[in-house]
Amino acid sequence: MADQSEYYREEARELLELIEQKLIDLENQPEDTELLNAIFRAFHTIKGSGSMFGYDEVAEFTHEIETLFDYLREKRISSNKQIIDIALSARDHISDLIFSPETLDPTAGESILKSVRSYLEPLQSSPESSQAAEQQPAPPPVKESVPESDALETTFRITFSPQREFFLRGAKVLPLLQELEALGTPLIFAHTGEVPPLEQIDPELCYTNWTILLTTTKTRNAIQDIFIFVEDYSDLHINVIDDAAQLDITSEYKRIGEILYEQGYVDQETVESIMKQKERFGEVAMKQGIVSKDAIDSALGEQQYVREVRRRRQQQQSGTTIRVKSEKLDNLVNLVGEIVTLQARLAQYTESAHDGDTVSVAELENVSENMDRLTTELRENTMDIRMIPLAETFNSFHRLVRDLSAELGKEVELVTSGAETELDKNIIDALNDPLVHIIRNSIDHGFESSEERQKAGKPVSGTVSINAEHSGANVLIKIQDDGRGLSSEKIRKKAIQRGIIGQDSKLSDKDLYSLIFSPGFSTTETATSVSGRGVGMDVVKRNIEQLRGKVRIDSQPNLGTTVTLTIPLTLSIIDGLLVSIGPERYVINLSAVEECFELTPDLFPEGQRNEYLSIRGEIVPYIDLRELFAVKTAVPQFREITVVKAGESKVALIVDSIIGQHQTVIKPLNAALNFIQEVSGSTILGDGTIAFILDINKLTEKISTAV
């Protein structure tokens, strides 16, 4: 085996040079995040490789320097000349530890670490002790402290495949896996299918690769940092497989075939062909020699792991009880009584039919009608039990507003109305976080200081008002502030800077405001502990969309900003309109349907097919769903139109035929179909076949973009 420590010394020499250069640059550009990241990574590599190559003293010493730069990256402390001096001394000390340990001053390291700790300890100790530490001259003030417990958990699948020569380069796997343990509790699968028998094995080569599942509050970068010093001689993939920021309607997870497909063990065609055999995927795939037992083990492990993570999260989120008015339960019991009676009648008819007596169509129709009525009432009653008022959620915001405004030195009052508005309990639970984000943003960025308000002739105290009201099958929740309003110019500048829009993009104010919901967008120059990390509003939008809702933002300079959430009343059952397109059937939410009629040539202006229909003189854009879904079957002679409305937009959907009304129990889409934007879910029809539920919001958006 080659002299392993020589590799390390070479690498360390280069990294120490780089650190020196970057530190000098940092002195002139103390806010440059790229420089901080580069220095952090270099120290991290020296530490990680040090522990792998037996330079334990280097690893131990560098660990604290690395922490110092981690805090600088997180802006928990600010860079200054004294920190640069300490870091340069640390760099020199590391160099001595590696290259000339014999001439080393044994007290130098401890003295450097003492200076480093004077910055770190105030941030690591309790609030009381950090107050005391403020009296010391060295540490600068804390800019931001993000409590770890507030961060949401993400589950990553890490596939790590070292090259055969991995060990020959002196690299080791176990220290890397140990470092991962510091981020969360990983579940690790070693794939040893390529390990040859003893006669053929070269014991110094690496034949194993790994799949690691890790649930952590840390980011992908934190994981990548661990592997940074072996990235040249290994293959690394980090994928998000579960994200607490997204709302789980179900704790279900992908099927084994899908997991194996994602992991690259099988192709789509093989998945489909095995699925058709209607046997356990893993068993068939293994029997046919398509995948190894190792791969099946890790896919099964992943399925169980993510289900468990989701189940735990759901328990935390919904492990509560709800108070139900006894009147609602009485109604439910009465309905059950009626159903039992109806069932007895049906049983009697069946018995009569068996005995050769005829049962009239009228009698059967009567039973069917009664059953229809009872099912509808039962559905409505059960849904009603799940409906709870928004009052409790609204009440909790008074404390939030009080604490936040005090923290930020602003005077803000909260006014709520419509707290009696009821929504499905699951929706109310899921709404809490987005509402907190919006209120936080509003208080932090939306309001001027008391002095500014006075100058502008506004009341010193600002007002945030939250109003909830019913609107058809939806509830509208408006969060309104009387602050400074959004600055379209600032948003525009930031969007260009972030590369979200081009220099020459001409966008209306409304479109500019919607950029606030772009991932990573934040107009504050420095992040605060309240908001401004640019992760809030995009999560708000995503979460609201997962509830099949919409979010809109309006603003007027100096008058304030209004965020409007449109939320469906319930998540699980809707009244739908069943339509057919080719051999498939689709459901349209009935609450969005304006009217239905036959498609006649005179609806096309000037008798020609173009982008619009003329409906009683009104020009309405249309989508031919046959064309959209590329249906190849013969076009029926007579087709029909349903006009739908989403928000302000009206769109005509051309379908083959309108079948009729249908009570739709919504099932989430299988992950493999998530890419179909125009479909929001599926439902099982009476004959056991599946119908997709059309996403009217997406369809109307599509047409407004196209137009």
Binding site: F167, L187, P197, I201, E204, T208, D297, Y305
Partner: protein, 124 residues
């Protein structure tokens, strides 16, 4: 790394002491091969191991594969408790806690040892 090979009529016992790491990997491979040629059953005593890395875990998997091919048996003596080996095998993903599916990997040598030790093997 110190490996002692103790042979009797029924089995060969390999008593391992010290560091089972990359530096000793070739030596370990040779001794494992030799042991598998001597008797149909090989038992590895790991109580004296002080350090373990992936090369050793891979060699155990490889030895099990060789033993299966020649219809012999190799296992780690569960009465010899070795915390270092258990921790490394779990950390390296070669065996897992029983509640996680997929613990029955294709390589049973480490999983068997782990299960037997966890079920209360003699830790003397």
């Amino acid at each position: 790394m110190d490996i002692e090979l103790q042979k009797n009529t029924k089995e060969t016992r390999l008593v391992c002491k010290g560091n089972a790491t990359a530096e000793a990997a070739s030596q370990i491979r040779d001794v494992l091969l030799e042991a598998l040629q001597l008797t149909p059953t090989v038992l590895i005593d790991v109580a004296g191991l002080e350090k373990v890395d992936i090369t050793f875990l891979q060699l155990l998997v490889s030895a099990e594969r060789t033993a299966k091919e020649s219809e012999k048996s190799i296992q780690i003596d569960p009465s010899a408790y070795c915390e270092v080996l258990i921790k490394s095998a779990v950390r390296g993903g070669f065996c897992r806690e029983a509640e996680h599916l997929g613990s029955s990997s294709t390589n049973t040598i480490l999983a068997d040892y782990y299960t037997q030790v966890m079920q209360g093997g003699d830790r003397g």
